[in-house]
């Protein structure tokens, strides 16, 4: 039996009158890659935001490593070990690459230099550009910085929101390789991704969402073979 890392139990979230999540439950186990699949507006980002404490949860609960973290403040959620790589390769654009990584280690000031070493080892390009202002990096480099900065906080769970958005195909496969490597090093990953084919190939387990609900779930390979999923999300009817 694999140990559970994250359990979301029947949460609902709304923005004013608009309900973005309705009774959504998901689980992430140790060592696993879990994909959230769904079209525009399905609620993937809202789910990650709710886990991160950025969005108020009305009903249900969120349990991380055995602790209830429902509606906990975002900095505490981050401190407890959830690292979100937000949508749109977000960096602190007026600060240098090195400074971005240093602030990423906020909760572990003693270990910043050792974490830096391992991040630079995984991302030699960040080392090369360590004194460059982050806003002047390419999109792909910014995404690597965003991932590296998240690793500085020694997360026990990585969540990535559309890490491929707005990047060139070659860079996209590079980013996915990086995430794959991180998973092999032991990081469980929760990935939100519009591209269903990519997400199902990448994940061990997957949840297919539509208008705030989970429609299908199961091992990613099985979902890929599910005719309904294929029809609606993979653009085929075979």
């Amino acid at each position: 039996m694999k140990k559970n890392v994250l359990r979301v139990e029947g949460i609902s979230v709304s923005y004013g009158p608009i309900q973005a999540l309705d009774d959504v439950s998901i689980e992430v186990d140790e060592g696993e890659i879990v994909s959230l699949v769904g079209a525009n507006g399905a609620g993937k980002t809202s789910l990650l935001r709710a886990i991160m404490g950025l969005q108020k949860v009305h009903t249900g609960r969120i349990v991380f490593m055995g602790n209830d973290i429902t509606n906990t403040s975002t900095d505490k959620v981050a401190g407890s070990g959830i690292g979100l790589i937000p949508e749109g390769h977000l960096v602190f654009s007026t600060m240098t690459v090195l400074e971005n990584l240093q602030v990423g280690g906020y909760h572990y000031p003693q270990e910043v230099s050792s974490s830096l070493e391992s991040v630079f080892e995984s991302f030699p390009v960040l080392y090369k550009r360590r004194n460059q202002i982050a806003g002047t990096l390419s999109g792909g480099e910014q995404q690597m910085l965003s991932i590296g900065r998240t690793l500085m906080s020694k997360p026990k769970l990585l969540m990535a929101d559309e890490p491929s958005l707005g990047l060139a195909p070659k860079v996209i496969s590079e980013i996915f390789n990086i995430l794959r490597d991180l998973n092999e090093k032991g990081y469980p990953i929760l990935l939100a991704e519009q591209n269903a084919k990519k997400a199902l190939e990448f994940g061990d387990h997957a949840y297919v969402m539509e208008t705030g609900r989970v429609l299908f779930q199961g091992p990613a390979k099985e979902l890929m073979g599910n005719p309904k999923v294929r029809h609606a999300y993979l653009g085929g009817n075979v």
Binding site: D75, G79, L90, M95, V103
Partner: protein
């Protein structure tokens, strides 16, 4: 020429006070996203604290400490008001502007009713001191020397804190993107409170230097200076720390030169006229808005 050098020195001392005030003001603006119009009033209030302390002790260390502690306490005590406002209105700097003007009026009223019967206060003459420099028309008082040297030291420390330390990086990260800052684990409220405390600390030091430079203070000094601090901050580009440094010094020098060469009472009109013209040409300020 001698007049010019004399006024330049005057201007640099006065300018370094403006710079300190603008830095504290801008720190809260970029980190906590508030316009704290009453910040210079708090500094003037701390000048009153210095003055009160000086009646009991001549120990410079104790006087500076009292000034810093009072300024930190009052500035941090005001923070919950702005936090409550931002809960209601979101982070709206216009709302904070209006509210801080009320706080400023309140402080001015307290000073003009409850402190020294509303009369201006005068610091001991040895605070301003005799001239350390005396060449013909050029005189440079001990107080001016304090303001200039203390000002340079405080500004250097401030920039060191902001650009070379862990806490400085946290401040800058939060000022650029508060949501991203919280995502990477930075406690937003705590860090904002810390920015009030640092601004208070800076204000306490500024109060001592200002007292030594002027040798006196009055209830209306807060309004007078606050107007200039806001003007310099807007002129430089709101929240632009380096711009504030340059423009604060420039204002000090311009004012002093105007005072030396023109009928003294016109120096304010000239300063604000210049600001008006520059704002018409460059609405985003000389160095660009950074909030």
């Amino acid at each position: 020429m001698e007049i010019f050098v004399a006024q330049l020195l005057n201007g640099l001392s006065l300018g370094s006070i403006y710079v300190l005030l603008v830095l504290g003001f801008n720190l809260m603006l970029v980190v906590a996203k508030i316009i704290q119009f009453a910040y210079p009033h708090l500094v003037v209030l701390s000048m009153y604290v210095c003055w009160g302390m000086l009646k009991y002790t001549n120990n410079m260390f104790l006087v500076v400490l009292a000034s810093i502690v009072s300024c930190v306490i009052v500035n941090v005590a005001i923070e919950p008001i702005f936090r409550a406002l931002s809960k209601k209105h979101g982070l709206d700097i216009n709302v904070s502007f209006v509210v801080s003007i009320s706080i400023a009026l309140l402080i001015t009223d307290v000073m003009s009713h409850a402190l020294n019967y509303g009369f201006p206060i005068a610091f001991p003459t040895d605070w301003v001191g005799k001239s350390v420099l005396n060449f013909g028309l050029i005189t440079f008082s001990v107080g001016q020397a304090y303001a200039l040297i203390g000002g340079i030291a405080a500004v250097a420390l401030f920039f060191y804190l902001l650009y070379r330390t862990r806490q400085g990086r946290v401040f800058r990260a939060l000022s650029e993107n508060s949501v991203l800052a919280s995502i990477i684990g930075i406690p937003v409220v705590k860090t904002r409170i810390l920015s009030y405390a640092i601004a208070g600390l800076l204000g306490g030091v500024t109060a001592v230097l200002f007292a030594r430079l002027l040798g006196s203070a009055s209830p209306s000094l807060g309004d007078f200076v606050a107007m200039k601090v806001v003007a310099v901050s807007i002129l430089a580009g709101l929240g632009n720390l380096k711009g504030g440094l340059v423009c604060g010094l420039l204002l000090g020098i311009a004012e002093s030169l105007a005072m030396g060469y023109l009928p003294g009472s016109w120096s304010n009109a000239i300063a604000f006229m210049m600001i008006l013209i520059i704002m018409l040409i460059k609405p985003e300020g000389l160095f660009g808005i950074q909030i």
